[in-house]
């Protein structure tokens, strides 16, 4: 565990991507199986130990440190694992530290009851850095500036194999990835994933911004406002199995059981998950707002009522694999042709194909995009007609062209300390609009929360503003003087019972900080309400 802890610390303090790759690659080469496999899992997708939660750490620490001092420390440090690693009392004669594998074994064996006795024993065997690494590993998600992709690239670099091959095998395998190391490090046969319903990495798009494309080379599609999914069916006869994956590769099959029995052939399909309705693109669009889909997301079990009220379907964009054939090398036009040919064989109850948006030229397309707000569609996608399906975001192939955001002037009301890179900075802002005429004594009502859209320099300035204008403290939250106006950009606004204002914004972010604007000139609730789309 010492080497792993040292690696984590080195990664925390390293800025250079190449240096991070070198550090991880060196560790993977020097460390024996299965320690390195567990470490790779921790660095990439993260390991899951259901018994160990952030709350477990809090409970353990509040038994050993005064609860008030714990809370103050946690708020200041901005990270539960780090706070705990700093506050945990090191025993006078600590027992020998465990290996990574032993740690994983012990953590896996814990349950909700035993964890309160067993986790302290592990913590006692480690120093402060080791405790940090342990707690990060145990609660999943290291958050140390290493993406899953970077970890896989480091693996590829360590053993001189291609990273797209690593990606391809990755989702068919499980930690500690014995087959992957056997293949890359020892020259064994590559892992066999053809008959497994595994996730294939998505092809992603760049924002179009100022780029202008020629519609001879590019096709346009609607950018539907649902969630991007991959539907995979693999295996033969009785063993055939269908799974649904989210954009990040999470298996969300259990949340949408109605999609697991309807794909009649083996395939890997790319599409948008939507709920039936008439908000997006009207009756012809056939899809409800994102708000409706949201009722279905994140549920582990689904009631019959939910299934009936919010029926889900997949609007298909692309086909990666079809009945044993890999289509990814083919140009988009050919894949599109295969997808259209496939359509009659798919049940219309659960599938349709995202239509192509026809436009005479780019300017015409821009006009069409202007109208997409009325249709409650997010915008357009532009896809190069000869583009193969390549994992990740490749310049020049696919572009997303979202409609322009809506803007509203709001007043800062509350600020909360951020975490991670922004710990100790007040970086999460709750802002409000006037519930009437501010000059006649109207109050502000909170309408949203944002923590992005500003530069590090601006963050420092707002942080200073918050510290100097605090009028109330609620734990990590400060209430400020209602003096600072934010121009807030957002994609859409909906009715919501969760907020006192009755409104909820989608993707709110700080567009501009209006140091110059007097707060009573900020917008009123009624002007925000007028922008409701559904």
């Amino acid at each position: 565990m010492e080497e792993f802890a040292a690696l984590i610390d080195a990664l925390v303090y390293t800025r250079s991507r190449n240096e991070k790759l070198r550090l991880i690659a060196e560790y993977l080469r020097a460390t024996p199986d299965p320690d390195r496999g567990w470490a790779l899992a921790a660095l990439s997708d993260g390991l899951d130990f259901p018994a160990v939660k952030s709350s477990t750490i809090r409970i353990l620490l509040k038994d050993r440190v005064d609860p008030v001092l714990w809370t103050l420390s946690r708020d200041f440090v901005g990270d539960t694992a780090e706070t705990a690693s700093l506050l945990w009392p090191t025993p006078d004669t600590p027992p020998a530290p465990p290996s990574v594998s032993e740690t994983v074994e012990l953590l896996s064996a814990m349950n909700r009851k035993t964890v309160l006795e067993e986790l302290p024993k592990l913590l006692d065997r480690l120093d402060s850095s080791g405790r940090y690494a342990l707690l990060k590993l145990a609660t999943g998600g290291m958050r140390i500036g290493v993406s899953s992709r970077l970890a896989k690239t480091a693996f590829a670099q360590a053993f001189d194999v291609r990273v797209d091959q690593v990606e391809e095998y990755w989702h068919g395998l499980a930690p500690p990835y014995a087959e992957l190391f056997a293949w890359a490090a020892e020259g064994a046969d590559p892992p066999d994933i053809d008959n497994l319903p595994t996730f294939r990495p998505f092809m992603l798009a760049h924002p179009l911004e100022e780029t202008v494309v020629d519609l001879k080379d590019y096709a346009a599609e609607w950018k539907w406002d649902g969630i991007r999914v991959q539907l995979v069916r693999a295996g033969q006869g009785q063993n055939a199995e269908t799974r649904l994956f989210s954009r990040s590769g999470d298996d969300i099959s259990a949340t949408f059981p109605e999609l697991l029995e309807v794909l009649p052939m083996n395939a890997v399909l790319d599409g948008e998950l939507l709920v039936r309705g008439s908000t997006q693109g009207g009756e012809a669009g056939g899809a409800a707002s994102f708000n409706a889909l949201q009722q279905r997301l994140g549920r582990k079990t689904v009631s019959k009522k939910m299934l009936a009220e919010y029926p889900a379907f997949v609007r298909l964009y692309d086909a990666l694999l079809l009945e044993g054939e890999d289509l990814r090398e083919l140009p988009w036009t050919e894949r599109r042709g295969r997808l259209e040919a496939l359509a009659p064989r798919l049940p219309a109850s659960h599938f349709d194909i995202s239509s192509i948006v026809e436009a005479a030229d780019f300017e015409h397309l821009a006009e069409i995009r202007e109208g997409s707000r009325e249709d409650a569609i997010e915008g357009l996608m532009l896809k190069r007609k000869d583009s193969p399906y390549i994992a990740g975001r490749r310049v020049g192939y696919w572009y997303k062209w979202k409609r322009d955001p809506l803007l509203v002037d709001c007043v800062l009301m509350y600020a909360q300390r951020g975490s991670g890179k922004r710990s100790s900075f007040f970086s999460d802002y709750t802002f409000g609009c006037w519930d009437g005429d501010p000059d006649k004594g109207a109050d502000l009502l909170p309408v949203g929360k944002a923590y992005s859209g500003f530069t590090d320099e601006e963050l420092k300035k707002i942080d200073r503003h918050v510290r100097q204008n605090t009028i109330n403290r609620f734990g990590p939250v400060r209430e400020t003087e209602k003096t600072l106006v934010f121009e807030v950009a957002f994609d859409s606004v909906h009715e919501s019972k969760r907020h006192k204002s009755g409104l909820a914004m989608r993707f709110p972010r700080i567009h501009r900080i209006r140091w110059d604007k007097p707060p009573h000139e900020a917008d009123r609730i009624e002007s925000l309400r007028a922008l409701i789309a559904d």
Binding site: D66, L69, V77, Y132, S423, S424, F425
Partner: protein, 334 residues
């Protein structure tokens, strides 16, 4: 008779000593100021009269040209102020010239610590415990997560990294008054006798330390040397220069920072620090709580920093305490 301790008044801009009509570490110009030490947030220019140790006055003179109205007081010396108030300056162990101020009036004793630490420091005499009725303490690192490691460990980390990269330099960000000179003096104590290169902004303060008898070994200015001269050497600069264009003249610098905040990983990351050195001139949590116990005052007043947590500790240990809301103290650079 006046109520006990009514003669000492914490105000937003400093601590006011009423019978003597003077302020301690005021954050705006006043007629008469008692200054604990030379850091900018405690020592401001523009006062009519400034009473401080000779070292602190020399530092203030260097920074603000404030020879006018300077009244020196040696450590251990007591001066009589107006209204029957006596002030005694006692070492605080924070930086060169730093003092606690003991105020006595009508049989009541109040100690204002300014900033202080309890660790050994080759650049200034150690903190002395002064028994008193009211102890006014700082709380910069007043959270139990702050525990500054022995400085020898941090020096070893620095020298190991330097030895591992003979083609690069290690650029150490350190506050220009106190931290920089302490780091250099500690490097000398650890047996590092190579020349150390300085950012221009550090030179005068280092010379001032040398004039006051602190041996810093051979110091060179970055501006006078080529990139190649500095390979395998230590360069010291103010924290603000760490990520500045200025550092482009250095040979592939490894960015280090000497500060108590480096104990928190994310703090180091926020400053793009690759080699965090946990070195502070402030008391850590252990030192703060130990000092409150040792001074054993009737009441503790907590000025600036993480006062909530220290207040809580006092509550838990049945010690009377209150937090003062002073403005203008800035602790970010330590």
């Amino acid at each position: 008779m006046a109520a006990p301790f009514s003669w000492i008044k914490p105000e937003p801009h400093g601590i006011y000593v009423e019978p003597a009509d003077c302020w301690i570490d005021p954050s705006r110009p006043v007629d008469k100021a008692l200054v604990t030490h030379g850091h900018a947030d405690h020592a401001r220019g523009g006062h009519g009269e400034t009473i401080a140790t000779p070292e602190t006055l020399a530092i203030m003179d260097l920074r603000y040209n404030t020879r006018e109205g300077a009244v020196p007081v040696e450590y251990g010396e007591t001066i009589r102020l107006k209204g029957g108030v006596d002030a005694t300056y006692v070492p605080a162990g924070h930086v060169l010239g730093s003092a606690q101020i003991l105020l006595e009036h009508a049989g009541e004793r109040v100690v204002v610590t300014g900033d202080y630490k309890r660790r050994e420091d080759p650049t200034c005499p150690p903190f002395e415990v002064v028994p008193c009725d009211i102890f006014i303490t700082e709380a910069t690192f007043g959270l139990p997560v702050f525990c500054h490691p022995p400085i020898e460990e941090e020096m070893a980390k620095l020298l190991d990294r330097l030895a591992a990269h003979p083609d690069r330099c290690v650029l150490v960000g350190a506050y220009a008054l106190g931290k920089a000179q302490r780091v250099i003096a500690e490097l000398r104590r650890a047996g590092h006798h190579q020349p150390i290169y300085l950012h221009g902004a550090m030179e005068k303060m280092c010379r001032l330390y040398e004039e006051h008898g602190v041996d810093l070994g051979e110091l060179r200015l970055v501006a006078d040397h080529s990139k190649d001269d500095m390979r395998g050497h230590i360069v010291v600069c103010p924290p603000s220069a760490l990520n500045d264009r200025w550092s482009r003249r250095l040979p592939d610098p490894i960015t280090a920072m000497a500060s108590g905040w480096m104990r928190i990983r994310q703090r180091a990351r926020q400053r793009n620090v690759e080699l965090p050195l946990v070195i502070s001139d402030h008391a850590d949590w252990g030192e703060l709580t130990r000092t409150i116990r040792e001074v054993d005052a009737h009441e503790n007043w907590i000025t600036h920093g993480r006062e909530d947590a220290l207040l809580r500790w006092c509550q838990l240990h049945q010690r009377r305490a209150r937090a003062l809301a002073l403005v203008g103290y800035d602790d970010e650079d330590d």
